[in-house]
């Protein structure tokens, strides 16, 4: 019985094409909302990376663009090797990760309870939402000069840039995710005798957790933008600082390595979120409807 239910669930979960075609014609590749065989999907994803890389190689090989502006792949690879083995770039990455981690944890540790309360109790929402929505539109980067004046150029300033850049929006996102918890679910718990505190911690929080987890994943990506800006403005270490000093020496290859490295870090953190999500929310596999 369970088995047949699961099979059914898979069909329901699939996009509305009932089956993928046995032999792929050209038109089938572009059919609307029809799933492609997994191998085809993987080949497509990989080939775009290959294409990009090939294009880059061709452009540098032909000398269309001076390698001062666009270093060749081999230059970038050489640069990466030097940076990671000799110049201690790993240390700069570690410092940036540390700053992002602390800044993001500070922002999240306030944003989570606040967003949860705002999404659960109208009082807190009316009190805080307009103010947060207003502050959210102030660009975090505009605060950097002010934060340098207040906090100097130490790590405290780096943390604060990340907090200013992520806290307000994260709070509002958590609030929205909390509000999305179905009222019937809450009423069902009320009818089982749940008191307000139990409603928040035993119903609303666990129900909103997967969505909140996703909010964190998205906002963590922004934290990386802010840390690099903060390090470019005023720092003596970190990925942003390395990028800035490379530009002073017109070392474009190093800038490339810095930027690509951040992309890879982002990819890895996404992966970690996805894997831990699977452990934290085992019940989200094979969801019906």
């Amino acid at each position: 019985m369970a088995n047949s239910v699961e099979k059914q669930a898979n069909v329901i979960g699939a996009p509305f094409g009932a089956h993928s075609p046995k032999r792929l014609g050209g038109a089938d590749l572009f059919a609307i909302r029809r799933p492609l065989p997994r191998t085809v999907s993987v080949v497509l994803s990989v080939s775009f990376f290959v294409l990009l890389f090939a294009g880059w190689m061709v452009i540098s090989a032909t000398g269309m663009v001076s390698d001062f502006f666009l270093p060749s792949p081999s230059q970038v690879l050489r640069s990466a090797w030097e940076m990671y083995t000799e110049k201690g770039f790993l240390w700069d990455i570690a410092i940036s990760i540390y700053r992002v981690f602390v800044g993001f944890c500070i922002a999240a540790s306030v944003a989570l309870p606040l967003g949860l309360m705002m999404g659960s109790v109208q009082f807190f929402r009316s009190l805080l939402e307009p103010c947060l929505a207003f502050t959210r539109y102030m660009p975090a980067t505009a605060f950097i000069p002010l934060l340098v004046l207040w906090l100097g150029i130490d790590d405290a300033q780096k943390f604060s840039v990340i907090v200013v850049g992520t806290f307000f929006t994260l709070t509002l996102m958590v609030m929205v995710s909390t509000t999305a918890v179905s009222l019937t679910l809450i009423e069902a718990a009320i009818m089982l005798g749940a008191k307000p505190k139990q409603l928040i911690f035993k119903v609303i929080l666990p129900a909103a957790k997967p969505a909140i987890f996703n909010d964190l994943r998205i906002v963590l990506g922004w934290a990386w933008t802010y840390i690099v800006i903060a390090e470019i403005v005023a720092a003596s270490s970190g990925v942003g600082y390395v990028i800035l000093s490379a530009s002073r020496f017109m070392d474009t290859a190093t800038i490339f390595v810095g930027i690509i490295s951040i992309g890879i870090i982002g990819l890895i953190s996404d992966l970690l979120f996805n894997i831990s999500g699977r452990y934290l929310f085992p019940y989200l596999q094979r969801t019906r409807s």
């Binding site: 369970a2 239910v5 699961e6 669930a9 179905s182 019937t184 679910l185 009423e187 069902a188 718990a189 009320i190 009818m191 089982l192 005798g193 749940a194 008191k195 139990q198 035993k202 119903v203 666990p206 129900a207 957790k209 929310f281 085992p282 019940y283 989200l284 596999q285 094979r286 969801t287 019906r288």
Partner: protein
Amino acid sequence: MSDIIRINRVSKTFGEGASMVTAMEDVSLTIKAGEFIVFLGPSGCGKSTLLRMIAGLSDTSRGSIMVDGRAVDGRDPSVGMVFQTYTSFPWLTVQDNIGFGLDLANTGSRARTEKVDSLLKRVSLTRFAKSYPSQLSGGMQQRVAIARALAVEPQILLMDEPFGALDALTRVEMQTFLLDLWSQDQKTVIFVTHDIDEAMLLADRIVVFSPHPGRIAEIIDVDIPHPRTIDETEREDFDRLRHRLRRLLFSMAKNAA
């Protein structure tokens, strides 16, 4: 049998001023302990609204509702509810869903286990004790919801179109299952539906509501003895009742149009 629910001249309005809508006007009804009552009516007749007021999830605008001698003021421990949408907690296994109300009340672990196990057996879900709701069919999910409501031992069970989202076959299966369950402990049940056959199969009394604003149009006794099965619905007196209810509901639809 003693009266367990007294609904006295209850009205319900939504909104204020010019946009005020009267959902229910001057409804009075007395329900005896152990009765199986069905609220039947077209959508917009206020049957679910009245159920929510009995549950304490919604206030009355005028009039009063007494449950077990107490005026309704928020959720009463003697009232349990099953909803139309699937309301199992998706992050809890079937057994933890059923034990949810017991956990809220800090029930001791042995009493909890015994209770949950016996309920799992009653709703035939023992094999699925450790499954998550997303792995269950719609009928099973509603059985979890029923078991979960029964776990805290309410005297009154309110059911708001609980089988509305199920396919026709599962629906009949669930109706029979519910009758079976009810025959074991004779709780007072109020069951909301717009399905005539469902109402006839289940009810001791059918309270028919008319819409705009919601009022009680008629109260009909169903004199067919329990235990009932689906075969009963083919009896002649059932046919007569079916015609009568159909005429009643369709005349409302005409008046509304």
